[in-house]
């Protein structure tokens, strides 16, 4: 009984707090990608402390959901791990009479994780080796495609068990986007998608599902977000970049990929930075974006959102690295600061 009473009290108290908070503050709602949810939560909280009149509620419902909610007009802005397609933008313009602008916030990367009996050394993967493994054409660990990049590592003559994401995910999109760029067979047979038609492999739900299966299954390989791998102290392999160097994903090498792509960055920031130029760039990197309407009719909301963007690009970036997100390179920040004025 007392526990029930306690729960009731907590419930009433938090409800009251929410109500008063909402009354006092300008509430802005947003929804979208799950990958940056941790840093977004931190940012929105820090920003609320700086300016208590603005409260941003973020729901991590997935990138697809973020775009859907923005199109339906149920949120003030969205968030996504992959840029919106031209059709998706046209649909928003048609239904909502505004154009969504893309603002990169932080960077993410995808890393190969594996569990091979008797191998403790860090492996190096070429793009073709990864494509071959996930296509099912490279079936043994001692295959030339893997072994030639790893001289001195004794790879077993064992079948490779492939583990991929079963749920539709930005992580899968970035990974397949990279494979599509570096391998023609992959491009023709599978392509880049958040839920591709994987030719081989077991499928597990979420990063925790993939890493769990890889840990359990001998001689298996999978892929997870860099942030997830760092947070869980997991080892992972390095991947060959466009300058034929094997690069291990770290926050610096991911930021380097964005810097490498910054020169050729389109004005609307919708760009894939997989296989980006630059000797230090990690090739399976990506931006994650906020999707902000270019017309915000409510002046207080417009002020709050533009102020948040300016803050996020300066002070906010300092919170990224401690939470294992790669911060944006200077060139991209400068471009974005100019783009804020597009919000009318």
């Amino acid at each position: 009984m007392s526990r029930l009473g306690l729960r009731l009290c907590v419930g009433v108290a938090s409800l009251t707090a929410l109500t008063f908070g909402a009354l006092a503050a300008q509430t802005i709602t947003a929804a979208g990608a799950t990958f940056p949810a941790i840093i977004y939560g931190k940012w929105f909280e820090q920003f609320r402390q700086k300016d208590p009149s603005v409260q941003i509620n973020y729901q991590a419902i997935g990138s697809g959901g973020g775009i859907k909610q923005l199109t339906a007009g149920t949120v003030d802005f969205g968030a996504s791990d992959k840029p919106m397609s031209d059709e998706e933008i046209a649909e928003v313009v048609k239904q909502r009479k505004f154009k969504p602008l893309h603002f990169p916030t932080v960077l993410g990367a995808v890393v190969p994780i594996y569990n091979i009996e008797g191998v403790t050394k860090e492996l190096k993967f070429t793009g073709d080796a990864l494509a071959g493994i996930f296509l099912g054409t490279v079936t043994k660990w001692n295959d030339k495609a893997i072994a030639s990049a790893n001289p001195g590592v004794k790879l077993p003559d064992q079948a490779i068990t492939v583990v991929v994401r079963s749920d539709s995910s930005g992580t899968s999109f970035v990974f397949t986007d990279f494979l599509t760029k570096v391998n023609d067979a992959w491009k023709n047979k599978v392509g880049a998608n958040a839920a591709p038609n994987w030719p081989v492999g077991l499928r597990a739900k979420g990063s925790e599902g993939v890493s769990g299966q890889v840990k359990q299954l001998p001689n298996s390989i999978g892929y997870v977000e860099l942030t997830y791998a760092i947070q869980n102290n997991m080892g992972y392999g390095s991947v060959q970049n466009s300058a034929t160097k094997f690069i291990k994903a770290e926050l610096a090498s991911v930021t380097a990929a964005a810097a490498g792509a910054a020169a050729s960055m389109p004005e609307d920031f919708r760009v894939s930075i997989t296989n980006a130029p630059g000797a230090a760039a990690y090739p399976i990197s990506t931006f994650t974006w906020l999707l902000i309407p270019d017309k915000i009719s409510d002046p207080t909301k417009k002020k709050a959102i533009t102020e948040f963007l300016s803050w996020m690009l300066t002070t906010g970036q300092q919170s990224a690295a401690p939470l294992h997100y790669a911060p944006l390179p200077k060139q991209v920040i400068a471009k974005e600061q100019k783009a804020i004025s597009l919000i009318k």
């Binding site: 419902i61 997935g62 990138s63 697809g64 959901g65 775009i67 998706e88 079948a159 068990t161 079963s166 749920d167 539709s168 995910s169 930005g170 599978v190 392509g191 880049a192 998608n193 958040a194 839920a195 591709p196 038609n197 994987w198 492999g201 077991l202 499928r203 597990a204 739900k205 599902g209 769990g212 299966q213 359990q216 299954l217």
Partner: protein
């Protein structure tokens, strides 16, 4: 005269009946039962209208196509229908003999106290959330299957197509086993109730005719409780068909069709749970909703068959 003493019951006025509670009770219970119908109709309407894009594009091919390719926007439900039916049948093959056997023991042979304790434990099992069963499967069932269970099956029965191919641990077999564990409490709990409801006359009559304890149980008690036992099996089947979380965690989630029980597969509910949140594109979304409609129809058909089975057995007339 005597007739004058008998009060003539006047029909009560509407107000009178309202005060008496009849009208109120009628209105409340009517609304309650109408809401069931309403929810079902709304569910079907939503599934039907939101899947229109997929129905228009694929038609009946949706039911027989094996391709599930979001990149090429080609969708077919056959691997999921196959996986749903296969895992449910596998689960019942294991849980029905176990559950009914346990129910017979608990109601007919076990001491009353033991029976009560066991049935309490069984009801606890039925209340465990499915994600907990999924975790149990990932951490204990699957490693056991991979290292002992599947190699054993492969070595002894490997000549059958069901026990061939690579052994990952995850797959149809793991999903069937975890569903068996999950449906088992339903079957045992309801079957036990049905068996305990059999009047004692039935047992005594059989014993009086010279039947042994087992003969009385098997020939007089179990047939009498047949309806309840069948009901428990169909409730278990419904749970097996619709179970999502635990299955997703152990089945491997590949949209393939394979005779081997070691192979990873997928079910309708698992694929909806996996793909719905981030499905992009109208046809993709409509196809997932159409999958939901297929699952709904599948359960209706199976429930209809269950009704027919019950009707057929009641006509034969051993039970009530």
């Amino acid at each position: 005269m005597a007739t004058a003493a008998i009060p003539i019951a006047k029909p009560r006025s509407f107000l009178g009946r309202l005060i008496g509670g009849d009208e109120i009770a009628f209105a409340i219970t009517w609304t309650a039962s109408a809401s069931i119908l309403l929810v079902t109709v709304m569910l079907v309407w939503q599934l039907w209208s939101r899947s229109s894009l997929a129905r228009a594009k694929f038609g009946l091919d949706f039911l027989v196509s094996r391709t599930w390719d979001p990149v090429a926007v080609q969708f077919g439900a056959l691997p999921f229908i196959y996986g749903t039916l296969l895992t449910a049948v596998l689960a019942l093959l294991i849980s029905v003999p176990l559950g009914v056997g346990a129910a017979i023991f608990l109601s007919e042979m076990a001491p009353r106290r033991l029976s009560d304790i066991a049935s309490f434990l069984v009801e606890l099992l039925a209340a465990v959330p499915s994600v907990i069963y999924g975790l149990l499967a990932i951490f204990t069932l699957i490693p056991l299957l991979r290292t002992y269970g599947e190699p054993f099956l492969h070595n002894t029965l490997g000549f059958l197509p069901f026990f061939q191919g690579p052994m990952y641990g995850v797959g149809y077999l793991a999903a069937g086993l975890i569903l068996a564990i999950m449906t088992f409490p339903f079957i045992i709990s309801i079957s036990r109730e049905a068996l305990m409801d059999v009047p004692n006359d039935q047992r005594e009559a059989a014993l009086a005719l010279g039947a042994t304890k087992w003969e009385a149980t098997w020939q007089a008690v179990v047939p009498f409780a047949r309806l309840g036992i069948l009901g428990s099996v169909f409730l278990g089947l419904a749970r097996a068909l619709g179970e999502t979380m635990a299955v997703t965690m152990v089945i491997g989630n590949t949209p393939t069709i394979s005779a081997s029980l070691f192979s990873p597969g997928s079910t309708i509910a698992a694929s909806i749970a996996n793909e719905f949140a981030e499905a992009s594109g109208d046809v993709y979304l409509a196809s997932l909703i159409l999958l939901g409609l297929v699952l709904f129809l599948l359960t209706i058909v199976i429930n209809g068959l269950a009704r027919l089975l019950i009707l057929a057995t009641t006509k034969k007339g051993t039970s009530v």
